[in-house]
Amino acid sequence: MKYTSQMVAKPYFIAAIGLFVGQILFGIIMGLQYVIGDFLFPEIPFNVARMVHTNLLIVWLLFGFMGASYYLVPEEAETELHSPILAKLMFWIFLIAGAATILGYLLVPYATLAEITMNDLLPTMGREFLEQPTITKIGIVIVALAFLFNIGMTILKGRKTVINLVLLIGLVGLAVFFLFAFYNPDNIVLDKMFWWFVVHLWVEGVWELILGSLLAFVLIKTTGVDREVIEKWLYVIIAMALITGLIGTGHHFFWIGTPGYWQWWGSIFSAMEPIPFFMMTVFAFNMVNKRRREHPNQPAVLWALGTGVMAFLGAGVWGFLHTLSPVNYYTHGTQITAAHGHMAFYGAYVMIVLAIISYAMPMLNGRKAANSAKSQIVEMWSFWLMTISMVFITLFLTGAGILQVYLQRMSDNPLPFMVVQDKIELFYWLREGAGVVFLIGLIVYIASFFIGKDEAEPNEA
C-alpha cells in the first residue's frame, strides 16, 4: 500500500461483507415464503423481508463503492486522501443510519415507521427500492456529499488519471440521480416515470462508469498492461454504456401510461445495451492474456474476469431476453424480471466489489500483494460456489417465469396469479436450494479471510 490514508477503506469493506450476509439471509427467508406462504407470518411479512433484502444490497454496494474509492483514488492521484477523519466519520454515520433504518423495517409496522419519521411532510416512502424514510434519504445525500467532497479534493490536488476522472463522474452521477428519489408526485404515471431516473440511470448508466473504472484499476494492477491501452478501452466502454443506456431508459416506459412511441425508442436503444457489457468481457480477457506479470493474487484476477462474463450474461443476455416491447408485453413484472435482476446485480456490481476487495484486502491487512496460497484456494472455491449457484438461481427463476408467462398470459384459458404460483412451486423449491448453496459459498468466502492467515504469501511467478 502506497499511502496510509488508503487504510480508511478497510472498515467500509468489512461493513459491506457483513451487510451482504444479512442480505442473503433475508433472501433465503423470502425464498422459503415463496413456498411456505405463512413462514414467519405475521412477524416478518414478505414485503418487510424484501425491503431488508434489497436495501441491504444497495447499501452494501454503496459501502463497497466508497471503500473502493478511498482505496484507489489516493493511489491513482499519488497523494494522501484529503481528509481521512471525514471518511471515518461518514463511515459511522452511514452505518448507524443504515442499521437504524433496517431495524425500523423489522421492529415496527411500515405505516408506523412512516408516521414517526413524518413521511407526510415530504412523502418519499413506499416505492420499490426507495422505501427508506425521508430522513434516511436526506442522510444518504449528506454522506454522499461529504464523500464526494473528500474524493474530489483528493483528485484535485493530485495526479489526474482517466480512472479517477471516470470514477468521479460516475459517483457524481450516482448522487445527482438519487435526487429524483425526493420527487414523488400524486400522479402515479409521473411518479413511476421519474422513479426510473434513479433506478435505471443508476444500474444502466452511471454505475457502469463506476464499474468500468474499478475494473480498469484492478486490471492495470494485476496485469501490468500499459495504462494507455486500458484507458482507451475504458472510454469506449463507458461511451457505449451511456449512448445506449440513456435512451434505453425507454424500455421501462412501455406500459406505465407513457406514450406509445417509447416502444420504439426503448426497444431499439436498450437492445444495444449489451454492447458495453460484451466489451467489458473482451476487455478483461484481452488484458489478462496480454499480461506482463503473473500477479500473485489469483482470486482478484478471477473475480475481475468473472465480472466481465457474468455482467454480460446477467445484464446483456438476460436483459436482452425481455427488452423488446413485443416480448416485454408478456414478461413484464414476472419471474423473468426477477431472474434478470439477480444475475445482473450479482454479475456486475457484487462481483466488481468483491474483485476490488479481493485485490485490496491483503494490502490493507499488511501483506505485500496477496494472501497465502491456502486462503486463495478457499476464496476461489467461494467464487465458484456463489457464481454457479447464482447461475442456477437465474435458470430456475427463468423456468418459473416461462411457465408463469404461458399459464397466466398466453394460454387460451389464462389462470389467476395464485393458481399459477401453486403450479410452479417446484421451481421455487429448486431456487431455494440454489440459494442455500449461495449462502454456503458466502460462508466459505468469509472463511477465506481467516484461513492461512499466518502463512506466507506466494511469490510473484
Binding site: N47, L190, K232, W255, P259
Partner: protein, 142 residues
C-alpha cells in the same frame, strides 16, 4: 484495439456521445411530460385518489404486489384489480384479511385501515385501472 484509433478519439466519443444522448433524453422526457394528459387519466385524479396513493405507499403494498407490472412478484398485479373485483370487492378483500394469516398460504397482512382509507385506496386502484397502458396487461389475470 487498433493504433489508429487513439485515446483522445475515444474520449471525444464518450463526451460527445453522452452529451448528445443526454440532451435527447431530456427532449423526449419533456415531450412525454407534455403529452401525458392524454394517457395518464389525470382528469380523474381527485383528492381521494391522491390520499389513496399515500395509503398505498405508507403500507408498502408494492413490497408484495406489482402495479402496472412494477414492484414485487409475490402477489397479484393490482393495476387492473379494480376490473377483476370491483370497488366493493377490493375494499372487502383488504378489510377481511385474517390477522394471523392463512395457514400454509401466502398471506396478506391485516393493515387495520379506516373506512376512509379503504375508500381512498380503492379509488386509487380504480384510477390506476383507467390509465392508458397500451393495452397491458394481456388479459384480466394481470
Amino acid at each position: 484495439m487498433s493504433q489508429a484509433f487513439t485515446k483522445s478519439m475515444a474520449r471525444n466519443i464518450f463526451y460527445g456521445g453522452s452529451m448528445f444522448f443526454f440532451l435527447l433524453l431530456l427532449v423526449l422526457t419533456f415531450d412525454t411530460v407534455e403529452s401525458l394528459p392524454q394517457t395518464d387519466n389525470r382528469e380523474n385524479l381527485t383528492a381521494q385518489v391522491a390520499k389513496g396513493k399515500h395509503v398505498w405507499e405508507n403500507n408498502n403494498c408494492i413490497g408484495c404486489h406489482t402495479l402496472l407490472g412494477e414492484g414485487a412478484y409475490f402477489a397479484p398485479e393490482l393495476g387492473n384489480v379494480h376490473k377483476r373485483l370491483g370497488k366493493e370487492g377490493v375494499i372487502a378483500f383488504i378489510k377481511f384479511r385474517p390477522k394471523n394469516g392463512i395457514p400454509g398460504r401466502r398471506s396478506m397482512p391485516q393493515f387495520n385501515l379506516t373506512d376512509d382509507e379503504l375508500d381512498a385506496v380503492a379509488e386509487f386502484l380504480k384510477y390506476t385501472s383507467e390509465i392508458n397502458t397500451q393495452n397491458w396487461p394481456p388479459n384480466i389475470q394481470g
